[in-house]
Symmetry: C2
Subunit: 386 residues, 2 copies
């Protein structure tokens, strides 16, 4: 009665029939959970009282559809809900909105799994490099990659470059900025990136290696692409981005741009999604979403360190980064946070060879010379059986 | 021993002495909570083992500092931690990173309150319009503003414009796109905004009113500013942005740009921060952060509707939008989600006159003619005692 001028056939002609799905974990008794699944279908799309919706294509195709509903355990259900590709309007922000926009504010719902469709892959083509491309960039093919971070904040760009040089001399493959280094006066972006990239390039030339320097380009809107382009010019070999601060779409834009550098995604500011039983499951968040956005490596808090994820959750993240996901390349898991050199062997047993081992502060605790400490790190990694 | 070339006096000369603070709510016994407060100081800044930090300014000034620690209730403590302004590097993303970057992944910590400093206000100057500016724009000075949304997705731009016209004819002051409308083929951005802005302008001309059309400019990176500029050209009177999808800094960039339209912030995708005892407290998230970013109105899930926030939480959000916050203008609370016309009186008693009452689906349930329904909405609002 409210939409008497509505032309159902026009809207219908714009629906391809392609649908992506999200598996939601819903908490409650069966009846409540079924009601919540139905509610998700409307809340994430039409957000309109169903009794007033125009009949036809809006109810049938644009409103989400519960494709399956099953008990996972007592009081815990899995509902697969499909959505028309067109609801995402060809963009990552609106795709995320359909997946978990308004219902992020409702209790008892977790995004357990994201299952894109051909239509979604047409605009989310994922990482440009992936595991094999990044191995090619770093020139390391048969073992995990050594990964570390420049810090602490407060050092000058000269100090940071000295540290980068030592890390490279010691054999670290990927040397990133700490994710809190942006454009502080102590080590401004341009000077820091120029000096650190130079230092790593020098060591590479001297030893015939291909170590990579990865500056942090997380920045205010409108400056990310510019910093990334400058970083490339100055010799950076990758880019660090924190999607919780810059938006997930910043990763996609960088991956799709002609800058063409591997992207390392940092988990800061999005932990709240992963900590509770609600939110987005760790593997969907740090694995699937980062990969869909276009990250080549996903940094996440390792089990057993100073963060609370379990081993099961961490291995699920790595699996989500590597499993079949349409045409998308597999990406590197980069477990991090409180890793000590003695943990490396056990980690390789868990994650396998295709990982970046991010040791930060732990590189300082084993001896007074940082170059020697890095060599010990390399020894630990080389001891891993392929 | 690792930083023998480190020049403490140079870093010291770059520290202004200005510090902002964050009050963290920490869960645990007193000893654990104290340890966590100390841990936050390092984790959010230097992220480095304290025993290896260079002595001097990095330990003294750059590492966070616990300014106060008190019991709030049994097993629940409040720790105020201050950070040097320079750690935020003059940008909102890095400010957010210091406030809650890595520790978002730790259990037992909630951001309870954000207390900026002069140094932070120098780059986060907040809303351009605020309550009085937005009232001026809409030409409504003595009562709450009527606010509604164009939906459901699937209607054409022509249908949306018809709906916008009826809302305006019925007396609604602010008519926004549903936050899920971006650039779907059913009602592409350019056509939708042009038609809806025209419809509202026509009604304004006819009745001598100043109703505002607020299109959604949440979009992929690099397209937000462009869509906002086009929207302004076409006659939009405000902009809807979802910072959970576009990044909080998208709001700041729009507020600071010469587009100069009031900004309405939508809460989709960030509910996970607000649902648990961890994350960011509702008032800090939907009140303080939205206002710091530059929103003129903050849309949040009202109590008693289909979302789980309590009345206490909702009133705290409104308070955080209106209380003294450096030089920042107060902003409109825009409670939303399942509001019916009969709720309006009670809401005005709770929130006072300075609010936007967002009634969406509820506008359809009271009668078969949408113009009459809007007039009933206006009658309800006009009945409120100033």
């Amino acid at each position: 009665m409210f939409f008497e001028d509505y032309d159902d056939s026009r809207t219908r002609s714009l629906i391809s029939g392609g649908r992506f799905s999200v598996v939601y974990r819903i908490y409650g008794d069966e009846r409540t959970a079924k009601g919540m699944a139905a509610d998700i279908c409307a809340e994430q799309t039409v957000e309109f009282p169903l009794r007033f919706l125009p009949q036809g294509v809006i109810s049938q195709e644009i409103t989400g559809r519960v494709e399956s509903f099953e008990m996972e355990s007592d009081g815990q259900y899995l509902a697969a809900v499909s959505f028309a590709d067109e609801t995402a309007a060809g963009g990552l922000p609106q795709f995320l909105n359909v997946v978990f926009g308004n219902i992020s504010i409702k209790r008892g719902i977790q995004v357990a799994r994201i299952i894109p469709s051909e239509g979604i892959y047409s605009f989310l083509s994922g990482p440009r490099f992936g595991v094999s491309g990044l191995r090619e960039s770093a020139g390391v093919f048969d073992r995990p990659l050594l990964f570390t971070a420049l810090k602490p904040m407060g050092l000058s760009a000269v100090n940071m470059a000295t540290l980068a040089r030592r890390f490279a001399e010691g054999g670290v493959d990927v040397i990133k900025d700490d994710h809190g280094l942006t454009n502080q006066a102590f080590a401004p972006f341009g000077e820091r990136v120029a000096r650190c990239a130079d230092a790593v390039r020098d060591v590479n030339a001297k030893f015939g290696r291909k170590a990579i320097y990865v500056p942090n380009v997380t920045a205010p809107t409108g400056q990310i692409m510019e910093r990334a382009a400058r970083a490339k010019e100055m010799g950076a070999g990758g880019l660090l981005v924190t999607p919780g601060l810059a938006g997930f779409d910043a990763i996609r834009a960088l991956a799709a741009s002609d800058i063409g550098l591997p992207i390392f995604a940092h988990p800061a500011f999005i932990g709240s999604y992963a900590l509770g039983r609600e939110g987005v499951a760790c593997d969907a968040l740090f694995g699937t979403l980062m990969r869909l956005a276009g990250a080549d490596a996903t940094i996440f808090p390792n089990y057993g360190g100073r963060f609370p994820l379990s081993k099961t959750e961490c291995l699920a993240i790595a699996r989500a980064g590597g499993e079949k996901l349409g045409p998308l390349k597999p990406i590197f898991p980069a477990p991090a946070g409180g890793i000590e050199l003695r943990d490396v062997g056990e980690m390789a047993q868990s994650y396998g060879n295709d990982m970046l081992v991010l040791v930060g502060g732990g590189l300082f605790g084993v001896g007074t010379d940082i170059v020697s400490n890095c060599r010990r790190f390399l020894d630990e990694v080389k001891r891993i059986k392929p």
